[in-house]
């Protein structure tokens, strides 16, 4: 088993210390940072996402793996920055205005980072203007919104409308999620995608990033 496979394996075990150590070792062996990221850390998180999707593992195991992923990223980040390795894309993320529930949103953020995305997490109770302004300023092609209350879901529509009003609908795509949010609602409000869980959200965001115009 090569070192990248061992990184993936230890990541699946949620062993953050070993992932950090093996990542350092891979760097010392001269492996390109991008390869360590893609074939070690992201590959491991990809397996985690698949296992989560089919209910072989659950939230605690996913989050232990994510912590291990971050331990590896801490070692790699300076090299990735130095070499100008681009992320998979930027995503602005937040729970909509009036909604204080952010665990689901946090999980999506963790999984997106695990898939190589740069996540700008605005937290909870985020006003529509802030979502759009941040996406513009950061040139993020995707806004992800979460709501757990039926009463706060309409805020998602406000964000979609604001994007249209500002003529940004070709540049900024939207994905919505949260317990009461379904694909039908996403379609009704004109959102570009619906993520039914964190793993699915990552898959949808990957598709959205490919659809935006630069």
């Amino acid at each position: 088993m090569d070192i990248l496979e061992r990184i993936s394996e230890k990541l699946l075990d949620g062993d953050d210390q070993e992932v950090g150590r093996l990542t350092r070792q891979a760097i010392e062996q001269g492996l390109p940072p991008r390869k360590i990221l893609d074939d070690g850390l992201i590959a491991g998180m990809g397996i985690v996402g698949q296992r989560f999707k089919v209910h072989e593992i659950f939230l605690p195991e996913v989050l232990m793996a994510a912590k291990a992923m971050y331990a590896g990223m801490d070692e790699l980040r300076p090299l990735l920055v130095k070499e100008g390795v681009p992320s998979a894309g930027k995503v602005v993320l937040g729970s909509v205005q009036g909604d204080l529930h952010d665990i689901g949103k946090n999980l999506v953020g963790i999984m997106l980072r695990g898939a190589g995305f740069e996540v700008i997490d605005l937290g909870n109770d985020v006003a529509p203007e802030r979502f759009v302004e941040t996406a513009r300023e950061q040139e993020a092609p995707v806004i992800g919104m979460s709501a757990l209350l039926t009463t706060t879901m309409p805020v998602m529509k406000n964000v979609v409308e604001l994007i249209r009003e500002q003529g940004l609908d070709g540049q900024i795509k939207t994905i919505v999620g949260g317990a009461p949010v379904d694909a039908a609602f996403a379609g009704e409000i004109g959102a570009d995608a619906h993520g039914f869980d964190a793993a699915n959200a990552v898959e949808r965001v990957k598709l959205l990033v490919g659809k935006t115009s630069k």
């Binding site: 989050l63 009036g98 946090n106 109770d125 009463t151 317990a179």
Partner: protein, 237 residues
């Protein structure tokens, strides 16, 4: 009359099953290893950091009607709107676990300790529900002790932000109840601080008044439909 109350942290410690359910682990699934250890650690943090407190005030139907109508943003027809006129006793309530738990959850996420942060969030959510349940039981127990209930009486609680009662209803509720006295404040978007707080109304009266079909338009968007279980539990008392 308004009553302020405090509880020991251990009184609100939730069962592991409730916590695992919030973690998305199916009921009956054997939980061991990392997940079990995380749950144990989170329950320990709850015991150490929670400062459970509650406030409750009985109100008349007319007083509640004003609270319920709030900012005028409720759905046209809701369970609360359909039930409260039949309630014999109504009490506004708010409970909180205090600020320390929320701070700890935030800190765990900030330090990449996601799994424990998330588990603590689930433990605290389940504990806040248990605390609300304790306050409801205490209210109903007091009514019973005063001879104000019959064998057919029951109580259930409802909260703004759920079942068509718009979250902006918090504003009027806070004006009447003033939960600031137990450290809960309301933000401009009607969010409560500390986050692990629950507020609403407890409606006591004939159990049957709580029997509604989850067929309101907004029920289509509800994934939990936990009203069914709550009604079943009430009728099974």
């Amino acid at each position: 009359m308004t009553e302020l109350m405090t509880f020991a942290a251990d009184e609100v410690a939730p069962g592991r099953e409730a916590v695992y359910e919030l973690q998305g682990i199916p009921a009956g699934r054997e939980v061991q290893g990392q997940a079990e250890a995380l749950c144990t650690a989170a329950l320990g943090l709850l015991s150490e950091l929670a400062a459970p407190a509650g406030i409750i005030a009985e109100v008349s139907q007319a007083e509640f009607e004003a609270v319920y109508h709030g900012e005028g943003r409720n759905e046209a027809s809701t369970p609360v709107g359909d039930i409260f006129n039949r309630a014999e006793h109504l009490a506004l309530f708010a409970v909180t676990l205090g600020e320390e738990i929320s701070r700890e959850i935030t800190e765990r996420f900030r330090s990449n300790d996601f799994a424990l942060g998330c588990m603590l969030d689930s433990v605290a959510s389940a504990a806040a529900d248990k605390l609300a349940e304790l306050v409801e039981s205490r209210f109903f127990g007091a009514l019973r002790a005063e001879g104000k209930t019959t064998s057919g009486s029951g109580a259930m609680r409802y909260s703004p932000g759920y079942c068509g009662w718009h979250v902006s209803g918090q504003k009027k509720l806070f004006e009447v109840l003033r939960p600031e006295r137990i450290g809960i404040s309301l933000g401009p978007s009607f969010l409560m601080q500390p986050l692990k707080s629950v507020s609403g109304v407890i409606m006591a009266g004939p159990k049957e008044m709580h029997c509604f079909d989850d067929a309101y338009p907004f029920c289509e968007r509800c994934e939990t439909h936990d009203c069914r279980e709550r009604i079943r539990a009430l009728l099974g008392d």
